[in-house]
């Protein structure tokens, strides 16, 4: 046995096989059912939108990191996730140049100006979407009906403007007007459950979110099932609100986050000017994350209660 150099480093000497890349690619995998349902309902144009959004996100990240001489982190998949999430929240016929603009803003203003992955306070995809909805309100609220492809309103719009309701079956299967990824409840839940099962999303956020929407809408005399199934609530609850970077790190904090977002959704939907409140509810709660973290610290082992 001849002598050799050994690696000397601090314990622990082994690590889990879960990596940042693995988490990001799992999120992408979890979105596949939703992508497929989006394409099924809204046609091949959805594919171009998704690709445009992803490519623009990845390219923006590349340019920013090159310009600032930072190490490239494209391979971690987080820019792809942002691009995919953004595209899935857009109306099915949005012009591609708007999609690209939204993606540039999502990565540029939503993520890279703060220092890249892990440093952004707000969900980048929602920052991109918020930018688009403010800049192009008409395009961003032009919905089409999956069956005949003609323009139609979303169920929430119908309720808000005309007081008309939509059948649960249509809401459940996704046979309604809406964003590419938010229509099929089955596809969203499938992906969401996968993420929770893998431990890459905490159940406390979607459960807190959905429960508070259901309970609050019941209290104020609205149909809770309709509110749960309509709009981007489920998509937001499983894929946007569970974004690790922009949500609390404590377990109680994640509950608080979900419940707070749920309350905001109902307030915006019922009393606000927008028919849909998921995006704003999550962005607002993102802003509260540091405070929630501060006040929901768990008790330390052996800590003497004051």
């Amino acid at each position: 046995m001849e002598d050799q150099k050994f690696i000397v480093s601090s314990s622990p000497h082994i690590a889990t096989d879960v990596t940042v890349n693995k988490i990001m690619y799992s999120v992408i995998a979890a979105l596949i059912p939703t992508v497929i349902s989006g394409i099924y309902y809204f046609g091949i144009y959805s594919v171009w939108m998704i690709l445009a959004s992803i490519l623009a996100c990845v390219l923006t990240e590349f340019v920013f990191q090159k310009l600032r001489n930072k190490p490239l982190t494209i391979d971690d998949g987080s820019a792809v996730v942002t691009g995919l999430l953004l595209a899935l929240t857009l109306p099915p016929r949005l012009p591609l140049w708007m999609v690209i603009l939204g993606a540039v803003v999502a990565i540029g203003l939503g993520k890279q100006v703060f220092g890249g992955v892990g440093c952004n306070p707000f969900n980048p995809a929602l920052v991109g979407r918020a930018f688009l909805i403010i800049s192009f309100p008409v395009h961003m609220t032009t919905w089409i009906n999956p069956v005949d492809g003609v323009t139609s309103a979303t169920p929430l719009n119908l309720l808000k403007m005309e007081g008309a309701t939509t059948s649960y079956i249509d809401l459940f299967t996704g046979n309604i007007g809406g964003s590419i990824g938010e229509t099929s409840v089955i596809a969203i839940i499938l992906g969401g459950i996968y993420l929770i099962y893998k431990g890459y999303a905490d159940w406390r956020i979607p459960v807190g979110y959905l429960a508070s929407v259901a309970i609050l809408s019941l209290i104020i005399g609205q149909d809770p099932i309709f509110h749960l199934l309509a709009g981007g609530l489920l998509f937001g609850a499983f894929f946007m609100a569970t974004d690790m970077v922009t949500t609390p790190v404590t377990k109680i904090g994640r509950f608080v986050f979900g419940i707070g977002a749920g309350v905001l959704v109902v307030i915006i939907r019922v009393y606000g000017g927008y028919p849909e409140g998921v995006m704003f509810s999550i962005l607002l709660m993102n802003g509260l994350t540091p405070i929630i973290d501060r006040y929901t610290r768990s008790r330390i082992y052996g800590e003497v209660r004051q």
């Binding site: 046995m1 050799q4 050994f6 690696i7 000397v8 480093s9 601090s10 314990s11 622990p12 000497h13 082994i14 690590a15 889990t16 879960v18 990596t19 940042v20 693995k22 988490i23 982190t73 971690d76 987080s78 890249g116 992955v117 892990g118 440093c119 431990g199 890459y200 905490d202 690790m244 970077v245 922009t246 949500t247 609390p248 790190v249 404590t250 377990k251 973290d293 610290r297 768990s298 008790r299 330390i300 082992y301 052996g302 800590e303 003497v304």
Partner: protein, 442 residues
Amino acid sequence: MNGVLTFRGGIHPPHRKSRTSSLEIKKAETPSILVIPMQQHIGAPCIPIVEKGQYVKVGQKLGEAKGFVSAPVHSSVSGIVKEIKKWEYPLGQEVDSIVIESDGNETIDESVRPVSSLEDLSPDEIRQIIREAGIVGMGGATFPTQVKLSPPPEKKIDTVIINGAECEPYLTADHRVMLEKPDDVIFGLKAIMKTVRVDHGYIAIEDNKKDAIKLLTKKCADRSDISVVTLKTKYPQGAEKQLIKAITGKEVPSGGLPMDVGVIVSNVGTACAIANAVNVGMPLVERVVTVTGNGVKNPQNMLVKIGVTFREVIEQCGGFNGTPAKVIMGGPMMGLAQYSIDVPVIKGTSGILVLTEDEAKQHQVKQCIRCARCVDACPVGLMPINISNYISIGNLDEAEKLNVLDCIECGSCSFTCPARRPLLPNIRMAKQKIIAQKRNKK
């Protein structure tokens, strides 16, 4: 006390125990040269009481304990003292060590004989035997056992726990000791109970060692003073404070010791060493070591004499398997990486783990994505990510406010981090700085 006991937080590292858990403890061959360091415990090193050229026998005292938190060191072989010199040892620096050339006869020293039976011994006499036998905590912490068993009178001890959790991946030494020396484990527990005047003791074992639980439960079936309890298999279940919480529901206060809540925890190996000291009169001169990892040809549980070098032990296990990248004393979660394999086995060597390049690969550190896996894993309830962030900007005050000093250094946070951030190394460094600052202020 029913069901499977546990604590909050923790992780599930891969066990990798199967390659040695069914292998009987094999007595290692004694090489011609042994190196016995004068420091095998936390606390002041021993003073050598033998001279170069002197003939020594098995069990003969080589070094006298100096100071309170110290334990004497004995010879594990008979032979000639060749040299007394500085030698590298597994905890880092070089320490005074006694190099002995074995004569191969294993002649036992006259001092090695049982004094009387446990029934006739007083608590103070048992303490004295434990002290003279140089027994220290064999789980790795090497705290002198006699000191642990001498709580100040105001600390009333009501519970003794023998720690057979062995939650470190790869290690099976305690598991084998429980299977092969169950009577010694029980005897050691009884001796401790008698020393601190406690009527009830626990033997705590993780539920991945079903055979050991079964055997010890059977052995204790007609005893009302000892309970064998099953723990959930989870790391760090064997950490003293987590173990106490799981079994008694009590929490050791921040900055305190188990004795503050009336509990004494001792490792399985320590209990055996006590049994050996009382029944045979033999001081702590050998211990069971799990030699394992993909970097070793024939992983084994070995009964090794204190002072045999890692090199010799590894060679007796068939040598390296391929190119070894990392040699660790202890388990992969809390063990110490070694610069050299010429260090001797000491009283705290629970394992020698050799990792191959593939297993020891250093991963690229990425940005934290705030996944909170470290927060979820921390058995203490700390927020390793926030603490680490404060440390990285040099704000030790905030880190201290986040209770960084309560960290038990189990490494669960680092293990579970998908961005491979060196959370524990950062925290450990910050702890040392904060403690140093406090000392300077005084």
